[in-house]
């Protein structure tokens, strides 16, 4: 079972010994594997742009007309565009468990569980994979909005995408945990995902400001980690890098990632039944 075994087979290319890969290498490999089909069929990334474009094109002008002046900072696009980027991340990473469901049904997931790939790297790699098209989509959204007077801090935007990546790992891992938990009734995946998604979305102040809402909604929003991420994205895109808003957003993103990975890895260990 050591290198000597392979030396008797000079005709073939075999691993030199029982190579141990790094955790980062594992996560990167899982991400690139998951990205392969996207690279071969980049059209899916274009489809992913439909939702943010619809919201920017049809919801944005309404927002500007109805509450435009009442928005914190007063600039509709500076307020709305960062929220749309968080929304794209939320939708992209929270649906990612559906891919895993399919691979659990076919057997590809099981095959990877028997390989030396670190289990947590399998979750993180799959979540990162969702971030690659999201970053591409974010660049397109920002570029499209520039002629409409959207201005932003480049350094803040880069940090904003990093924050989204951390947050996305958490949501992606929770989505995988959900997929594993409901693998015997796969339709439940969408029931739970949709039931949780919209309250979280509305109570984050992503689409409409919470300041005008009733008190109970504000209290509920204070308990929603997504709300801090949305606020932090707005502050970052506005160039307000060293604010406490950004710090709270980072805390919320890291806690979400930690909780997601904890739940995800524990669920993954039970997924092989």
């Amino acid at each position: 079972m050591t290198a000597t075994t392979f030396e008797t087979l000079p005709a073939e290319t075999l691993p030199a010994r029982e190579a141990t890969r790094s955790w980062w290498g594992d996560a990167w490999l899982v991400m690139t594997r998951e990205l392969m089909p996207t690279l071969r069929d980049p059209f899916s990334v274009v489809f992913g742009l439909i939702q943010p474009v619809v919201f920017l094109g049809l919801f944005g002008p309404l927002l500007a007309g109805s509450v435009g002046d009442g928005l914190p900072g007063g600039d509709v696009w500076a307020w709305f565009v960062p929220g749309i980027l968080v929304m794209t991340t939320l939708f992209g990473t929270s649906t990612t468990g559906a891919n895993l469901l399919f691979e659990m049904q076919t057997g590809a997931h099981e095959r990877l569980l028997v390989t030396p790939l670190a289990r947590s790297a399998q979750l993180v790699g799959r979540s990162w994979k969702e971030m690659v098209p999201i970053v591409a989509q974010s660049v397109v959204v920002v570029a499209v909005m520039l002629p409409f007077g959207f201005s932003f801090s480049p350094a803040g935007a880069v940090l904003g995408l990093v924050l989204l990546a951390v947050f996305g790992v958490g949501i992606g891992s929770l989505s995988y945990a959900l997929a594993i938990a409901v693998r015997k009734q796969d339709w439940m995946f969408w029931v739970v995902q949709q039931t949780l998604l919209f309250p979280l979305l509305i109570l984050s102040g992503m689409l409409l400001p919470l300041e005008t809402g009733p008190r109970w909604m504000q209290v509920a929003a204070d308990l929603n980690p997504l709300r801090y991420v949305v606020d932090a994205e707005r502050a970052l895109f506005a160039g307000d890098l060293a604010s406490s808003t950004v710090a709270w957003g980072a805390v919320a993103a890291v806690l979400t990632a930690a909780a997601g990975l904890l739940v995800g890895v524990r669920t993954l260990a039970r997924s092989a039944r």
Partner: protein, 330 residues
């Protein structure tokens, strides 16, 4: 290569009773063996394989696989074994060659070597023309060969195959086995497979472990199992039912005859060797003027072995959808 002691798996569902899937399994498999684990659905075959491949944790007992304990050091076990599960290991959205390259990289090859290894395996398994196809576009047999290639990327000394040929037609099954046996010879591999194809266990495996209700009920070569547990059989029908007892006396004189039964005009007996016993009994019957209406000699199958061990037929349980014509057990 494999050593289990008291290996046990209970499944405790939320509702319903605890299922004792595997009960105190003691199994030793030496390097280089080709072992088939045979049994009806629900016998614990797949649960056993899943414990040995670190997919599920045993409830009790121990298992050492390829030199490491499955519970204490699953990472080492995973590095050393190859596994081809019941499903399709290759992701359906992926291209065949990409999955093989990824698999090679997982086991520590750099990208260049992983590509070279993928090319070698595709050559050995006749997958070359399909390299750039999407996995979902491959046929069942092609996908199965790709699954086997994925399990062999790192030339494991120990390969697990969980029902490798389910869903394949006889031609594809024979083809797949030809590949597996050739690769086994090349890599001096130990192979453990589960199957519910009786003829597959019979022809391919050098050793057959029969499991039922989570326990090993027999463990030997297929030939020895058939010889000791089932044996050859004769079935004769006398033209006149009154002659049946006399015919039974003749059958009882055949070498190794035992368990002679008479039912109406029919006489059934176990013998050492049906092909020589049958003409001998018929000649003796002719010499005495006993008219025989029908005569059959049966050589045993593994199903007869299972039947004599459990009183149930593997085929009756729907577990053995063999491609061969079903031979009805007496």
């Amino acid at each position: 290569m494999i050593r289990t002691r008291g290996l046990t798996k209970d499944f405790t569902g939320g509702k319903g009773p605890t299922v004792h899937a595997v009960r105190g399994l003691d199994l030793d498999i030496a390097p280089g063996e080709l072992v088939a684990v045979l049994g009806p659905n629900g016998a614990g075959k797949t649960t056993t394989i899943r414990m040995l491949t670190t997919l599920i944790a045993p409830t009790a007992g121990s298992a050492e696989v390829a030199g490491a304990d499955v519970a204490r050091d699953p990472a080492t076990v995973r590095r050393r074994i190859g596994y081809v599960g019941q499903g399709n290991g290759a992701g359906h959205a992926q291209r065949a060659v990409d999955e093989l390259v990824v698999q090679g990289t997982i086991y520590g090859l750099d990208r260049r070597d992983a590509r070279r290894r993928a090319a070698e395996l595709m050559g050995q398994l006749d997958l070359e023309p399909l390299a750039r196809r999407k996995v979902s576009d491959l046929s069942g047999g092609q996908r199965r060969r790709l699954d086997v290639a994925l399990g062999l990327v790192h030339a494991p000394r120990l390969l697990f195959l969980d029902e490798p040929s389910t869903g394949l037609d006889p031609h594809n099954r024979a083809n797949l086995w030809e590949h597996i046996l050739r690769l086994r010879e090349r890599h001096a591999m130990t192979v453990v497979l589960t199957t519910h194809y009786l003829d597959e266990a019979d022809q391919m495996a050098e050793r057959v472990v029969v499991v039922d209700e989570g326990r090993v009920i027999a463990d030997d070569t297929a030939a020895a199992l058939k010889h000791t547990l089932a044996g050859d059989r004769l079935v004769l029908a006398a033209a006149d039912p009154a002659d049946a007892p006399a015919l039974a006396d003749l059958a009882a004189r055949a070498p190794g005859a035992r368990g002679v039964e008479v039912e109406g005009a029919e006489v059934r007996a176990r013998v050492a060797d049906a092909p020589t016993a049958l003409p001998a009994v018929l000649a003796a019957a002719g010499a005495r003027g006993l008219a025989v209406a029908r005569a059959e000699g049966h050589q045993p199958t593994l199903d007869d072995v299972f039947l004599s061990l459990t009183g149930r037929s593997l085929r009756e349980e729907g577990a053995a959808r063999s491609a061969d014509p079903v031979e009805v057990a007496a």
